[in-house]
Every structure is written in C-alpha cells, then in structure tokens.
C-alpha cells in the first residue's frame, strides 16, 4: 500500500518535472576567428564575445542565422582589435526538455560570462523573458549586453510592466543593456493599425503568457481600442496544448474577424494558425516578429497561412535592406550559401556596434576593459550600419523605428507594407 502511494507521488512529480534531463547541448565551441590558435582566455590576451541564444528548439534556424551574422562582423575586422584576438563563443540558452529558452540555462550562461574575466560583451538574448534573468547579473558585473531580438518594452522603459521595472534590471544603477531592434510598443501599435486597415471590426487577442507575448498583445489591445476596434476576448493559451480547436470555437462564437496572437513559433503559433483554418473561423491572423522565421511556415504549413496571416517585424525583409544592409545580404548569401533569416542582420549589427566601440577605444589608445567597452557602446551615436543610421537613446534602445508587415505566399514571407 505504502509502495503504491509512493509510486503515485513519484510518478506525478516526475511528470511535472522536466521529462528529459539528457545531456544539455550547450554548444560552447570557441570559434577561432584570429590567426593564433589555442590562446589562453585570460584578460588582456584575448577579447571574448559570447552570445546566449536558443540553440535547441525551433528557434535554432533563426539562431544559426544570427550567429552567422555575428561571425561575419568579427571576420570583417580580421578577428582582432589591434593585437588582441577576438574569441567568440556561441552559447545555447535553451534546453531540450523545454524546447525553448530555459531560465536555468540562461542564468548559468550569465554566471559563466561574469566568471570569465575575458568576456567583454554578451550578445543576447532572443527571448525577452530570458533577458530578465541575465540582465541584473550582467549589470552588477558591468558587462555590456546587446540584444539582437528582445522587443519587450518593459526591459528598458517605465510604465510597460511591473512598477519596479526596469530599475530591477539595473542593480548597479547604470545602463548596460542595449538593443538594436525596435520595441513592441512600436510593433503592437503597427499591428493594431494594420488590423484596422484590413477592415477588422471584432478582435480576439491571445497571448502565450510569456513576457514577450503578453507584452506585445497588451500593446496591441490598447492601440486596437484606440482605433475603435471591438475587443471580443482576451485569453492566455497553453503553449503545449495538442490543439486549439475548442478555443477556435469560442472565438467563432464571439464573432471574431481578426485574431491577434502575441507569441512565437516555440509557443505554438503554428498549431493555432492550423486550427483557425481547419475550425472554419473566417478571421485574419496577425502575429508578431517571434513568428518571423521559416520554422513558423514549416510548422503551420502554407495552406493555413496564405491569404490569412500577417506577421509584423521590426525592420524589413533581408533582401529589401539597402546600403550597408544590402552588402550584408550579399555577403551573407555568398558566405553561407542561403537566405538569412529575419534576425541575421540584427545579430550582425549587435556584434558590429560592440566591435566598433572596441575599435574606437583602440584607436584612442585606451585599454579595452569591461568598463570602457560598456561606456563606449553607450556613446554610440549616428552609427551607420546595416540597419541604416541610428543611435542608442537614453534607455539603451535603438532610435530606429522601421517596421514591416509581412504575409506568406507559396511558403515564403512577402513584405506588404513598411512603416517608418
């Protein structure tokens, strides 16, 4: 009797605990970008740049693309600043049991970066929720953090999240977190404006209950109301559900003619799109940039998206980039032999802005330390990069505000509108 009870308890706990704690594929393969190899990673000898992006899960293709961008930025300066070699490490912040970013792994990455004196810059994260974990740790250690993809406004601006945000991420009292991508207060608004343009009247707003998804869905909802659209429902979905057919029925009953989902491919946007299509809900679907990746089209299948789904993205599609962006696009294709994902150029830009700061320090004859790099990155002004000419504002956000609305045709993303 006792054994059986113990069994049941054990069985239940092990079900709720992550089901699979197999070898974590934290792929910490150092990329020897310089000429010398096997250099000891001690401060002054090499400059270490690390990235913490999801390598396990459907965001992996997107990450590969961003990592390629980072590598390109390093290669372009010959893999060194003066005599100091740049060593780049590509860290995974996801785990197989979650198939998505994992708070434990992200925390571990941040600690590892803090503990390694050679680490001068931390590029990441992809998910805004993950940034919340590493931001305070890196802030306390004074390491500059540049995110190529976080869009949650609450990370840098007051009034979007909890009362203690963003101060809670800045225990040292200084700003160490920067991002090269426009935030969701812009993105959610662009989506709501586009919803109106599509002629929607009744909108059902869904989110995945994560920092990013809930945040962008909240902005959308507010702006949609201002635009005179009726919000017929707001719900948080279970990102691991096998399907959303019942929810689709509920949205049908509510008479929704447009569904907004604040979420990503990893939080099941593909399945939602499928169930809207198969459940006979005649409504358009708008999703944010977390779905602007080929994995989303692969997961949802073209038939569920074409003519129905619109994806907002903080920038323009890679092939529409101009100036240095166009050079980047051409070089990327030449080097890696494939189309870059939407965020590749942001990975490139994030690394580029850090390296540019280091080079300015080197040219001025100043030492490259965590403190000097942090200060110099913060001074970035009128930086001409692949995303045009932009600066970091007082919050550490980019002044770039370019947004695009995209749709899917024959299995490819097609841009329908660019908003500046």
């Amino acid at each position: 009797m006792l054994t059986r009870r113990l069994l049941t308890v054990l069985a239940l706990t092990s079900l709720f605990a992550p089901a699979a704690t197999f070898a974590q594929s934290v792929s910490a393969k150092p990329v020897e970008a310089g000429s010398k190899s096997g250099a000891a990673s001690k401060s002054g000898d090499v400059i270490k740049i690390v990235s913490s992006l999801p390598r396990t899960g459907s965001a992996n293709a997107q990450t590969t693309s961003m990592v390629n961008g980072i590598k390109m930025a390093i290669t372009e300066v010959g893999g060194a600043i003066g005599a100091q070699k740049i060593v780049y490490e590509d860290w995974d912040d996801a785990s197989p049991q979650r198939g998505n970013w994992d708070p434990a792994v992200e925390a571990q990455n941040a600690d590892k970066a803090v503990g390694d004196a050679a680490v001068m810059a931390y590029i990441g994260t992809y998910n805004s929720g993950a940034a919340k974990i590493s931001m305070p740790k890196l802030n306390a250690a004074g390491i500059v953090m540049v995110s190529p993809a976080n869009t949650a406004p609450s990370l840098t601006k007051e009034g979007f999240g909890e009362a203690n945000e963003p101060a809670v991420y800045r225990p040292a009292g200084k700003i160490n977190y920067f991002r090269v991508v426009p935030t969701d207060d812009v993105q959610g608004a662009v989506a709501a404006d586009y919803a109106k343009e599509l002629g929607a009247k009744k909108v059902f707003v869904l989110n995945d209950r994560e920092v990013y998804g809930k945040g962008v869905a909240g902005v959308f909802e507010k702006r949609a109301k201002e635009n005179g659209l009726e919000i017929v429902g707001v719900e948080g979905i279970d990102p691991k559900a096998s399907n959303y057919k019942s929810l689709v029925t509920k949205m049908k009953q509510a008479g929704a003619d447009l569904v907004y989902f604040g979420g990503t491919t990893q939080t099941n946007a593909g399945q939602l799109a499928k169930d809207i299509s198969s459940g006979g809900l005649r409504a358009k679907l708008i999703v944010p940039d977390g779905c602007y990746e080929k994995a989303f089209i692969e997961a949802a299948g073209n038939r569920a998206l074409e003519g129905r789904c619109f994806i907002t993205f903080g920038g323009v599609e890679p092939k529409a980039l101009t100036g240095k962006g166009k050079d980047f696009y051409e070089n990327y294709k030449k080097t890696y032999g494939g189309e870059p994902e939407g965020y590749a150029v942001y990975g490139y830009e994030a690394a580029k802005v850090v390296i540019a700061a280091m080079q300015r320090l080197y040219e001025a004859g100043k030492p490259i330390t965590r403190a000097s790099v942090l200060e110099e990155v913060g001074r970035t002004k009128d930086f001409t990069g692949a995303l045009g000419t932009w600066s970091f504002d007082a919050n550490g956000d980019t002044t770039n505000r370019t947004m695009s609305v995209n749709t899917v045709k024959s299995g490819e993303f097609v841009s329908v509108k660019v908003v500046n």
Partner: protein, 325 residues
C-alpha cells in the same frame, strides 16, 4: 453560432481528443495491470509512431499525398489504415523490445528501480525523436531544425461534412478517429474477455505467481501486453498526427501526461477505466476552454483528478486493490 451549436461542437472536439487520449491511456493501464510498472516511456514510443508515420508519408512523396485527393477517398482511407497498422506494429515491437532489454531483467528489482529505468528509456526515446527530426528529408523540413514542430500533411480531405455553411464543423478526421478507435476498443475488450491469451492476461493481472503455477506462460502474456499497448499507442499517434497536422519530438510528453492522468482518473489497471478517463479528460478540456478560460484548463483537469482521488482513491472504475506484503 447558437449556444447549442457551440456545445455540440465542443462535444465533438472533446470526444475526438478524448478518444486519442484513451488509446494512449490503455497502454499505460494494461502494462500497469500486468507488471505494476508505470511505463513512462509509453508517451515517447507514441512520439516515435508519429515520426514513423510522417516519414512514410514523406517517403511516398508530398506529390503523392496531394494526389490522394484526386485519387479519391478510398486511397486516403487505405493510406490511413496502412499508417495505423504500420505505426502500430512498429510501436508494439518497440515496446516489446524495451521490455525484453530493460524491464525484464529488472522484473524482480524494487519498483523504484523499474520506474527509474522507465524514465531513463523515456529520455533515450526523446533523443531518438530529436535525432529523427534532423534527418534531411523534405517532409521533416529538410532536417534543418530538428526540434521544430513538423507539418503533417492533410491525408483526409478537410471539408466540413455538415456542409460549408454549417456553423458546426465535423471533418473526416473526427469521423476517422471514431472509425478507428471504437473498433480497436471493442476488439481489445473482446480479446481480453474471450480469448485464451486474454484469459491468461486477466489471470496474470490478478496474481502472477498463481497464474504461473497454473501453467500460464506469463512471459508470453507480458510480451503480448506490451505489444498490444504499444500497438494502441502507435495507432493513437497516427490519429493524433492526422488530427492535429503537426508532430514534434515533445508531443509524447503532453499526450503521455494526459493519458496517464486519464488512466489514474479511470482507475489504473482498469481498461474500461482508461477509456472512460480519456474521454472524460477530452471533454473536460473542451468544456473548460469554452466555458472557463483556456489558461485555467490544466488547473481544472488536475483539480478534477485530485477531487476524484480524494473521494475514490482507486479511480472511477478502479478495482479494489489486493494487499501487497
């Protein structure tokens, strides 16, 4: 949509989802009934069934599957039937192999050892699925993102059987789930009730030592149980894939959790209990999504489970357990 239509629709979805859960739950409950092991690897055997089905469909070529609609419905049903049998045999065989290699040597070991071994097997299978997802094949998205969800083609035509104008949607997939799961369940019940091997199973479940003394080849009975449990899991994975049109290496986790809950709800060890539990969980999920809120659905499901376990510790249809010494 009127309230009645909404209710009817949720019943359809609840039953369809529930039937699939019930099939998986049978695998848990049968194995538990015979060897008193909660086979945590079952959910992952289910996952591999889905991957096999997609690989077969992909191997036939996307064009061939798209042609199905022009070839007519018979061929679609034939393909579905073939997949159910193929994935079923594969999962059944895999389950038997796992039993032979891992569980059998541990049969007399403490229950905890067996349980931990089952969890270990589960990890191995999840990783195999992850690896499988990375096989460079068109159907698997070229294998570029091993862990990404994979699109499963629509094998059955997706039109609404109640007419395109009807608010209530009933698709061939819903019908297929009934057409495949109900006969499987009836067949299984008859098999256990009427055949010699079925009698052997019931006897072994009641008392393995006495059964052995009576001349029942209990090893054979155990293998047969794993085979049948695995077969049902494989069949369920095909139905799941056809119904949701997506597979991923993690699909077995949620399916396994739902099915295990269903088995406990109905009374672990009881076959009618697993069927009832599965269908109930499907219905509770649908109703909670509709009338409460999606974000509360898991709370509702597990709340019901806790309530039932408090008032009926052996589950809804659970048998009075024999005392273990």
């Amino acid at each position: 949509m009127t309230d009645t239509e909404v209710f009817l629709q949720q019943v359809i979805y609840g039953l369809s989802n529930g039937m699939i859960i019930a099939l998986v739950a049978l695998g848990y409950t049968m194995v538990y009934g015979i060897v008193e092991l909660i086979n945590f690897a079952h959910g992952d055997v289910f996952t591999l069934g889905g991957f096999l089905a997609l690989t077969i469909v992909g191997g036939l070529g996307a064009a061939a599957v798209l042609d199905m609609n022009t070839l007519g419905e018979t061929s679609n049903w034939m393909l579905l039937f073939g997949l159910v049998v193929g994935a079923g045999l594969f999962c059944g065989g895999l389950n038997v192999a796992i039993d032979k290699v891992v569980y059998k040597p541990l049969r007399r070991a403490p229950k905890l050892t067996q349980l931990v071994a089952a969890i270990g097997v589960s990890f191995i299978l999840v990783n195999i699925a992850l690896f499988w997802g990375g096989v460079p094949m068109d159907a698997l998205g070229g294998g570029n993102a091993a862990a990404a969800p994979k699109d499963f083609p629509e094998i059955l035509e997706g039109t609404n059987l109640l007419g395109e104008e009807s608010n209530v949607v009933l698709r061939l997939e819903d019908v297929a789930i009934f057409a495949i799961t109900v006969p499987l369940m009836i067949g299984l019940t008859l098999f256990v009730k009427k055949t010699r091997l079925g009698r052997g199973m019931r006897a072994t479940a009641q008392n393995p030592i006495a059964a052995k003394l009576m001349g029942i080849d209990t090893d054979r009975v155990i293998s047969a149980t794993f085979l049948i449990g695995g077969f049902l899991g494989g069949a369920a994975s095909v139905m799941w894939s056809v119904y949701n049109n997506t597979i991923s290496f993690q699909m077995g986790f949620r399916a396994g959790m739902d099915a295990f809950t269903a088995a406990v709800l109905g009374g672990i060890g009881s076959m009618p209990g697993a069927m009832l539990g599965g269908i109930l969980i499907g219905l509770i999920r649908a109703m909670s999504d509709q009338y409460i809120e999606t974000q509360w659905t898991n709370v509702v499901v597990f709340g019901v489970l806790i309530l039932i376990l408090v008032f009926r510790p052996s589950g809804l249809l659970g048998l009075k357990q024999r005392e273990k010494v």
